[in-house]
Amino acid sequence: MVGQIFDILKGDSQADRVVPKRGHSVRLTLFTSGAMAFLAVFALAMSLAAGRLADRWSDALARSSTIRISAPAGEMEAQTWAVLEVLEQTPGVESARAMTDAEQRDLLEPWFGPDLPLEDLPIPRLVEVIETAAGYDGEGLRQRLAAEAPGAILDDHTRWRRPLVRAAGRLRALGFVSIGLILASTAAMITLAAGAALAANVKVIRVLRLVGARDTYIARAFVRRFSIRALTGAAVGTAFGTIAIAALPRAQEEGAFLTGLGFSGFEWAMPLVIPILAAVTAFWATRAAALRTLRRLQ
């Protein structure tokens, strides 16, 4: 198909000339594909930015939280067991595990050095909780812990990000849906413009047929013209869109969504796909419209 499109673009310029150049449908195509490409650049940037955000946030999430138990040495053992028992009965908890002294020492070592006499210090006991995909009810768990093990504190600060990750994922999908809609509207508009161009050239079509032109030959003259216009318009629109994105002010603040809108690294090459998609869309839309109209113009 790509080969076919290149043939069209290279074209036989003589074949192109058989259709007169006048007509505002061609300028309309140029303008609309430019505007649509400009919008598509933003939709693409939004999708990519939302995707980056979702990835970053979901890495941090990792479905784990911790329970910290601070209790006098004598009650520590009992409260730890109580916490583990509560967790065992809590829906949405996949596994729970009290950290051993050795693990806790490893965690503290960077701060206090290797010779920490852990037994003599009132170090809280840590319980690592891994939740299921569905997750547990944080408030309910907190209440039960307060009743069963008053020294236990649930630290679930990463859980608040869950809805944000969902939202970012949704936003990425919406960006791609927008690109799809933009392509579909481009196709619809080019179909109308091509139909109008054919209708304005009924006499030309009649003369071409009388001298033995096939439908595909006649269609090709129109297809070539519209594909080139769509490609040109979309290339200009894409260039402006990309420049606009590049010119957005940048801030250092991590995770700020608006300032994160843009492309990074190889993503800067992705807008190049837009004019190609526009040309392919124009190719098929014009071809379908032309062949349909020619069938009707018996």
Partner: protein, 239 residues
Amino acid sequence: MRHDGLSLLDWGCVVIELKQAAYGYGGGALLEGMDLQLTQGSFYFLTGPSGAGKTTLLRLCYADLLPTGGSVEIFGKKSTDMTRDGVAAARQRMGVVHQDCEFLDHLPLEENIALPLTVAGRGMAAGNGDLAELMGWVGLTARKNALPPELSGGERQRAALARAVITDPDVIIADEPTGNIDWEMSQRLLQLLVELNRMGKTILVATHDLSLIRAAKSQISARVLRIAGGQLQSAGSEL
């Protein structure tokens, strides 16, 4: 008579055949029970009063109209059974001078005359020598860059004839090719048709111009057909 230049068809075989063909625009029948065989290498004139249906009959012969009764077979295929590509392929083997001489108004005359080559994918280059010679023969060399709307009626007819013969077609169908043309130029155009006929082309010319028919009959054997009252008759003797 020469036999070369005939690649696809044998001398004397039927290229276009009407069998009980009928045609009517909407209401009643304009043409009825038309039986006609055009054989390869023959020359026909079609006469009849204005409005008798000459143009209509010719249009049936190049599948611009489909018969409303009977059948029209072009190169052995019924026009009613042809696909649009089939019609295009058949027209690439025919040269047609239409009565209204339609051109592409945005292209210079030379490109219009080469149009049948272009749409057949044969390119202007292929027939370029022929093109210049042909333009000279029909007296349009000086007008080759003119746009069709700038041409006189006679110039258009000469251009239409040049366009009809540029592809070296098997069959040439011409509707009043000399209607607006002075006697001298008509003789030149007739000469072209006569030469093509001698090369084995089938020629069908609708005309009112009896002097043209007489001039042709003095050089070749041409059959004269006459339409009147929706019927086709042979009209040889009275000329």
